[in-house]
Amino acid sequence: MWTILSGIFLGWSLGANDSANIFGTGVATGTVRYRTAILLTAFFVLVGAILEGPKCMRTVGELSTVLPMEAFVCALAAAVTMTLLTILAVPASASQAIVGAILGAGIISGTADFSQLYKIVVCWVFTPIAGITISYSLYRILYFLLQRSAVGITTRNLIYSTGILVTGSYGAYCLGSNNVANVTGVYVGAGILTSETAALIGGLSIAFGVLTYSRKVMMTVGKGIVPLDPFSALIAVLAAALTLHIFTQIGVPVSSSQAVVGAVVGIGLVGDVRTVQFRMLMKISGGWIMTPLTAGILAYVPIRWIL
């Protein structure tokens, strides 16, 4: 049972790293207080994990047959990778980390099911694309409606300030429901936990990470990519949340970071492509390549030589 400890560690680092995708802009611009942001995120992540988390558990579990001990190592490898990237303040993908780790372990035992991998990778590729498409469309439509409605600045101010809270909560819900499978899905595959228990434990660990270590990444994501006005920030979070929610229904855990970056790029496309800071994009893309690789190696090595 103690093997789930590494999963909890993984959940913690996911919470610390990914929560910035939701309220990053809000906190960095001072629109939302840090305390409010993390409380809302933690709560709704847990709700999302419990209500819809099990939907993605199967996909993670079926990647390769994993023994409890190997599950421990996989989650640990993924967690270490995530923590490393969090310290470097690079938004990282837990999905890629855990999948990299599981496959690394699977290569050794020979049970790695690469056919599943294709489905997952396709979803990974489509995550930012979906983010771009949804945010671009949402922006255009909602902007048009907002202009039409001719509301005054006080009403608009109210819409933005409550909107950011509402979309953020929804975003946290979607993060929980989609990503909890990354955290504890591997234990469902190893047969240690049921989907529901895994969702609960995973959700709690993510919430814990949000509450304790998310400040640093929040400040980077908020200011790093695109200078976002309140309306754009709202659309970005909403689009990313919708993207995650769609992939939850498909059953594949994807990267919330990629969804957000896609959403932000989509908004940038509405105005001027040059609004996206290229350097930051490069840094993030680098992380996406290094993540599965690092995690895979970190899983492969201990299992090969120790177990």
């Binding site: 001719a150 509301v151 005054g152 600045i153 006080t154 608009r156 101010n157 109210l158 309140p230 309306f231």
Partner: protein, 209 residues
């Protein structure tokens, strides 16, 4: 508890908007009274203008403290405060002109043009109020800002004529001359500042889109 916070949020912003509206209306009154005072050489009215400026100053302080108590999104606050401060500065200019008016009388050859400038200042401040209302409603203030620029151009022309005429007036002593110079300069600077204020309204309008 959350709902109360949301509703009180809306109220805070409405209060700020109302206060700023009061401030601009005060400016309009000040300009109107000043013009009448100039025309009729009425000392009482000059004192009224000075009182109005003091009232405007206290409104400014109220608005700024309400804003920093948490009205409006953080990125909007500096622009709102800057606008309020500019309006306060204009009121200050009108008050300065009124103070001068208490101690001097305009030479005959300048009276007509100066009263015209005072009238146009009043019209400009009215237009500033219209611009403000448009921005608050979320409408494009472009038309009204154009009107402000037209008034400003008219005043500029008058300013050239006034100064040209003023240079020909024989001055008794330094302080008389200084008072006259300060009065004319103050009168004509009001329009520049009102135009500046309207530019800031445009900034606020764009930030809120």
């Amino acid at each position: 508890m959350v709902f109360r916070k949301i509703f009180s949020q809306g109220k805070k912003e409405l209060d700020v908007i109302d206060d700023i509206r009061r401030q601009i209306k005060l400016l309009c009154s000040a300009c109107e009274i000043f013009r009448t005072a100039l025309e009729k050489q009425d000392r009482e009215l000059f004192w009224d203008v000075i009182d109005l400026e003091r009232e405007g100053d206290s409104i400014r302080r109220e608005v700024v403290s309400h804003i920093y108590e948490g009205a409006f999104l953080p990125y909007l606050r500096p622009d709102l405060c800057k606008f309020v401060e500019i309006v306060d500065e204009v009121l200050g200019l009108v008050k300065d002109a009124a103070s001068l008016g208490l101690n001097m009388e305009l030479p005959e050859q300048l009276k007509d043009d100066c009263t015209r400038v005072a009238l146009l200042n009043f019209r400009m401040s009215e237009m500033l109020l219209f611009t403000y209302e448009a921005v608050v409603k979320g409408q494009d203030p472009r038309e009204k800002m154009l009107a402000i620029r037209i008034y400003e151009k008219k005043i500029d022309d008058l300013k050239a004529a006034i100064f040209g005429e003023a240079y020909r007036i024989p001055i008794r002593d330094f302080w008389t001359g200084k008072r006259l110079s300060d009065m004319i300069k103050g009168l004509t600077m009001i329009s520049d500042m009102v135009e500046d204020a309207s530019d800031h309204l445009q900034i606020i309008h764009v930030s809120m889109r």
